[in-house]
């Protein structure tokens, strides 16, 4: 195909991407937006294959690899449980980062092999996309490990960690300087740059707690976008420049929006090491006190005698896959004339909006879901707040205890309801690793057990009343 037509196709793809992001701003048009982005991507990929520089000898390799990748990607994308979406996005983002780094490595080796020294722009963007792509790759894999609970979700910190990170950054900068200015391209320096960037990705994400992973993934998503955009300079390719630039910038805005929803600054998320102060006041004050435990039958009687119930679903409900049982219970209560609402914390689940997706999966009507600002004024008039597998997002310490790692995070004021029923597996602290005094207050009762079993039992008990 005439190279000009290829560029026109890239322009078309770029317009599709921009309109797609615009459509993704509203729930009504979001799905169409995603389709539009798919269409743009398909056009860009087909146009690329018509580039005369693609050697027909390699077509077999290209076809086979794309087919394998598409098959695995589609199956994994269809099969992954809705509860595992955050780690899936982390994994896919890491693979994108790896792809950028591979493209940069190829370009570097190619130039080295031919003995040509690339123009400065190309040299600089090769180094930058290698560094950013590698950080994104290893950082995302670590985030995946934390969310998948292959690694402890708690922040992993050690003395001198910040110093190590600073040293790594300086080392990478020094290597880059050496590669670009002093010695010129050498394979050893380039591979060292690769390795140091991978280590920086790991050691940068390690001290960040599991509860903050969504912000980290969003930031690394923006990184991969930037890296892809830089690879656009390397290959002088407008599809990469625009697609990467768009994602780099919009990913950054999204990251800041997420921080705002948690009432934190990005610096606090990245370097605050939430949870490192776990052993402060709260925990010791709770030592020796026992929560009140209720049987599912007691809980059913309490619920059936109330006029208004607010259900607060958390990640515990999601892992137990209990959303269907919760809906069944809510339907029964509503049939008995109880007013039922769902309170959705901005970061309920493990990502903003994650809980909405899970409840939508269980066919919970949208108009029963209330956001934090809407529901908090209603708690004082609520008879029962039913907290299912949520912990940090209902911890009253966030309101007043300045020593608490979650101080300042907006929470759902369930403690203001007349009675709080908490369904929880055990008294273990939540994802942020913080104790919760709510469980010991006078108006709170606990129903221990997996959310799924407890909800089914309460439902059954309601039938037998």
């Amino acid at each position: 195909m005439n190279p000009e037509w290829i560029d026109v196709s890239y322009l078309f793809a770029a317009v599709c991407f921009m309109l797609a992001l615009k459509l993704l701003n509203s729930p009504v048009t979001a799905r169409r937006g995603n389709w539009l982005a798919m269409a743009g991507m398909a056009v860009a990929l087909v146009a690329t294959m018509l580039n005369p520089k693609i050697d027909s000898i390699n077509l077999g390799w290209i076809g086979g690899t794309v087919l394998a990748g598409a098959l695995i990607g589609a199956v994994a994308g269809r099969r992954v449980a809705m509860t595992s979406i955050p780690q899936m996005v982390a994994l896919l983002n890491g693979l994108g980062g790896a792809a950028v780094a591979m493209v940069a490595l190829f370009e570097f080796l190619d130039a080295l092999h031919r003995g040509v020294s690339p123009p400065p722009t190309q040299a600089v963007t090769t180094v930058l996309s290698t560094v950013i792509g590698s950080i994104s790759f290893s950082g995302s894999l670590l985030a995946f490990g934390k969310l998948q609970e292959l690694l402890p979700g708690r922040p992993l910190t050690f003395k001198g960690q910040q110093v190590l990170n600073l040293v790594l950054v300086l080392f990478i900068a020094g290597l880059a300087f050496s590669l670009l200015v002093l010695q010129g391209p050498t394979l050893a320096a380039f591979l060292l740059l690769f390795a140091a960037s991978l280590v920086l990705g790991v050691s940068g994400v390690m001290p960040i707690g599991g509860a903050d992973m969504p912000v980290v993934i969003s930031l690394l998503n923006s990184f991969t976008g930037c890296a892809a955009g830089l690879a656009g300079f390397l290959l002088m390719n407008t599809a990469l420049l625009i697609g990467g630039g768009l994602v780099g910038a919009s990913g950054l805005i999204l990251t800041l929006l997420m921080c705002k929803a948690m009432n934190r600054s990005i610096g606090n998320v990245l370097f605050g090491a939430v949870g490192s102060a776990v052993a402060s006041g709260g925990a010791s004050a709770m030592a020796g006190r026992q929560p009140k435990s209720y049987t599912p039958e007691d809980a059913a009687i309490l619920l059936s005698n109330s006029n208004s119930v607010v259900i607060v679903p958390g990640y515990g409900m999601a892992v137990a896959q209990a959303q269907h049982q919760v809906k069944e219970l809510a339907d029964k209560l509503m049939a008995m004339g109880v007013d039922v609402k769902y309170a959705i914390h901005p970061v309920a689940g493990r990502m903003p909006g994650h809980m909405n997706v899970l409840l939508a999966e269980a066919d919970v009507p949208y108009d029963l879901l209330y956001e934090l600002e809407e529901i908090n004024p209603l708690f004082p008039e609520t008879d029962v707040a039913l907290v299912i597998g949520a912990n940090d997002v209902v911890n009253p310490a966030a309101r007043y205890d300045k020593s608490s790692p979650i101080y300042g995070m907006p929470i759902l004021d369930v403690d203001k309801a007349r009675t709080v029923i908490v369904s929880k597996r055990s008294m273990n602290p939540g994802f942020a690793g913080v104790e919760n005094e709510l469980f010991l207050t006078d108006n709170c009762v606990m129903v221990f057990g997996s959310a799924k079993a407890s909800m089914s039992k309460i439902s059954a008990a309601l039938d037998n009343l």
């Binding site: 390799w61 990607g73 979406i85 190829f106 892809a228």
Partner: protein, 97 residues
């Protein structure tokens, strides 16, 4: 393409990216992250271009890795995003939006 033209394109893309995300409801934060994640899979274009001119086993290996990772990023990303957004269809928002 001249360098200055390339820089212009990139900077304009960054500004569009900054502007296009405005007051999106929290409900859409996860799908939006997932969709932008799929869009940066456009690096697959770069992967195809390098694999297309690989001329040794080593380069072929690197190119195959780039294309494989890029394809997973694109296809997996779009499929997951669509599954999430599928669940929003036909329902009314509680307020606003």
């Amino acid at each position: 393409m001249s360098l200055i033209a390339v820089v212009t394109v990139f900077i304009l893309a960054v500004f569009v990216g900054l502007e296009v995300i405005s007051k999106i409801p929290q409900t859409l934060h996860t799908p939006l992250m997932s969709a932008t994640n799929a869009i940066h899979g456009v690096i697959l274009v770069g992967g195809l271009l390098v694999l297309g001119r690989a001329d040794s086993d080593l380069m072929l290996g690197i190119g195959v890795a780039a294309v494989f990772f890029g394809t997973l990023n694109v296809v997996g990303g779009f499929v997951v995003t669509d599954r999430m957004l599928e669940m929003f269809k036909g329902r009314k928002r509680g307020k606003g939006a």
